[in-house]
Symmetry: C2
Subunit: 332 residues, 2 copies
Amino acid sequence: MGINFIKLKVETKHRGGMMNNFADVLIDKINEKQNPSVVGLDPRFNKIPKFIVDEMIGKFGKNFQAIGMSFFEFNKGIINAVKDIVPAVKPQMAFYEQYGLYGVKAFEDTVRYAKSKGLIVIEDAKRNDIGSTAQAYSDGHIGMVDSFDGKEKSFDVDCITVNPYLGSDGIKPFIESIKNYGKGIFVLVKTSNPSSGEFQDVVTENGVRNYIIVAHNVNKWCDETIGSSGYGSVGAVVGATYPKQAEELRKIMPKSIFLVPGYGAQGGSAKDILPCFNKDGLGAIVNSSRGIIFAYEKNGRPEDFENASQEAALKMKDDINNALKEAGIWRW
Amino acid sequence: MGINFIKLKVETKHRGGMMNNFADVLIDKINEKQNPSVVGLDPRFNKIPKFIVDEMIGKFGKNFQAIGMSFFEFNKGIINAVKDIVPAVKPQMAFYEQYGLYGVKAFEDTVRYAKSKGLIVIEDAKRNDIGSTAQAYSDGHIGMVDSFDGKEKSFDVDCITVNPYLGSDGIKPFIESIKNYGKGIFVLVKTSNPSSGEFQDVVTENGVRNYIIVAHNVNKWCDETIGSSGYGSVGAVVGATYPKQAEELRKIMPKSIFLVPGYGAQGGSAKDILPCFNKDGLGAIVNSSRGIIFAYEKNGRPEDFENASQEAALKMKDDINNALKEAGIWRW
C-alpha cells in the first residue's frame, strides 16, 4: 500500500523498452521449469493439518483469524515445496473469501509470499459485471485503485479468471489493465464441470455452439495483447474433461494460453490435456489442486505434507511431460 | 462469529413452523414500505464527502483502512436516510473488494448495520464456479462455513446475485442454502449493459435466444423454493434497459422476483420497468445506486448527503408508484 502511479512506472520491469507481457513472462517461467502445470491453492479448513490449526488457535483463539492464518501457514509450506517445480500457483478466491476479511487477508498474504518466491499468481475468481463495475474488479485485482494521492495497487495478482456472460463491455476494463500493467486474464470458454454444456453448448442458428462464439471473441481480444512469444495475455479456461472441444478450441484461439482445470481429482488424464497444447509444446497450463495440496492424505502423515505435495507436483510434471513426449511435442 | 449450527437452529425465525422464505420476507417488506425499490450501496472513494475521509485519515492515516472506514461511515449515513423508505439495500461487492481486506471489512460492517436497521441485504457479487467451489461461495455468503465446532455463519447476507454460465451444478449449492437458511439468489438472465446481447441473445437452433433457455432453468429452480406469497426465492436479474425482453421473461418466470438494474443513471425510466411487474403489482424490485447515494452532487452540499439521498429515494419511490398507478397495477 502507498505506491502511487509515478512510483509504479519507475518500478515496472521492462523488456526491450516495453512493459512486460504476461503471456511472455508465463511462457518464460514454463520454459525455465520445463513444466506447463500449476498448483491450485484451495485450502479447506477440515483438511489443514491439525498441528498448524492448533498453533494458530494458540495464537489467535478459535476464530476466523486463526482459520485464515492456518490457510496462510499451510500455503507457505506448499509454496516452499513446489516453488522450484512449477511456474505458477492458482489460489481459488472462493475458499478464502468464505471466511470474510480474515480469509481475504490470507489470500493477500499468500499472493505476496508466492510472488516473493518467484511464482506467477493466477487468481481464480471468475469475476464479471457491467462495464463500470468490471472496472472496479479490474482495478482491484490486476490494476490500480483510486487512493489518496492518485492510484495504488491492491491485490496485484498477475492474472485473474473472468466470466464472459455479460459480453465485451465487461471484459474491456480487464484488457486495459493487461495493457497498462502487464497482466493477464483467462476467460471461461468451456468449463470442466458436468453441467457446463447447459448454456455453453447451446447450438446457435448457424450451427455453432455458444462456447465457440465466446472463443472467437477471446481470440479477437487476445490479438490486442500479443507478446514477443507469439502468445497473448487473454487466455481461455478449457476443461481437461472435454478433450474433443479442446481440439476445436485450440484452432480457433491459436495464440491464447489455455488454463486447463479438471486434471486429476476431476477425472482428466494427461492424454486428455494434449489437445490443449499447440504443436510447439506450448499454449496450455494444466492445474491440479486437491491432488497436490492434500497429497499427504494418501500417506497419512500430515506433519509431512510438504514432501507429499512436492512428490505429487513432480509426479504431475513427469506425467504431463511424458504425454507431451509420446505426442512428439515435448520441447525441452 | 462463534455461532454454531445448533445455536442457529434455535435463533432462526419461523413462520407457521417453517423456516422463513426469502421471497415472502422480501414481499412483506415491499408491502410494508409500499415501495418495490432498492438502494445500491456502491461507494467510490472519489465521491465520499471530504469531511468523512478527513475524519478517517485522522483516525487511521492515509491507508486502505481509512478508505474502508470512510465507506462504512458513508453507508451508515445513507442507511439511516433510507431505512424507512426502502425494503432493501444492495451493496455491490466489487467496490469493497477492490480495497482488499479493509474493503471486505467495510462490506461486513455495512451488512451488519443494514440488517440491524431492519433492511434486507442483497449482495451483488455475481459469483459462479464449478459445484465444489460454488459450495464455498454459497457457504460463505448465504450459508455456513466449516469451523472449529461444526459450522458457523460468515457474511450472512439475505441474498446474492449469481452468474449461470457454468450451468446447474454451479447453482445447486446456492439452492441448498436457500432451503436450509431461508436465503435467496438472483440469477443473471438479461443484464442491463449495452453488450449483454453478445452471448445472452445468441439465437439457438430452435429459434430461442440463450437468455430464454436460462430463464426456463431459473423458473424450474424457483419452483423448488415457492413460499406462501406464491413467489419463490430464485429470482432473476433483468435489466430495465431491455423492456421488451422483460415482458417475455415475465411470462416464462411468473413466480420469480426480478431484480431490475438499469433504472436512472443507466438510462431506464419508470415506464421501462413496468414489464418486470406482474399484474398483482409485485414480482420486481428496482435498483438505483449512483442516482441515490451520490444525489448530494446535484445540490453541491456534501455535508448534507443524507438528506439529498433521502429525497432521491422518496422521488424514486414516487416515480415507480406513479408508473404502477398509471398502469393500473398499484396495490397499496
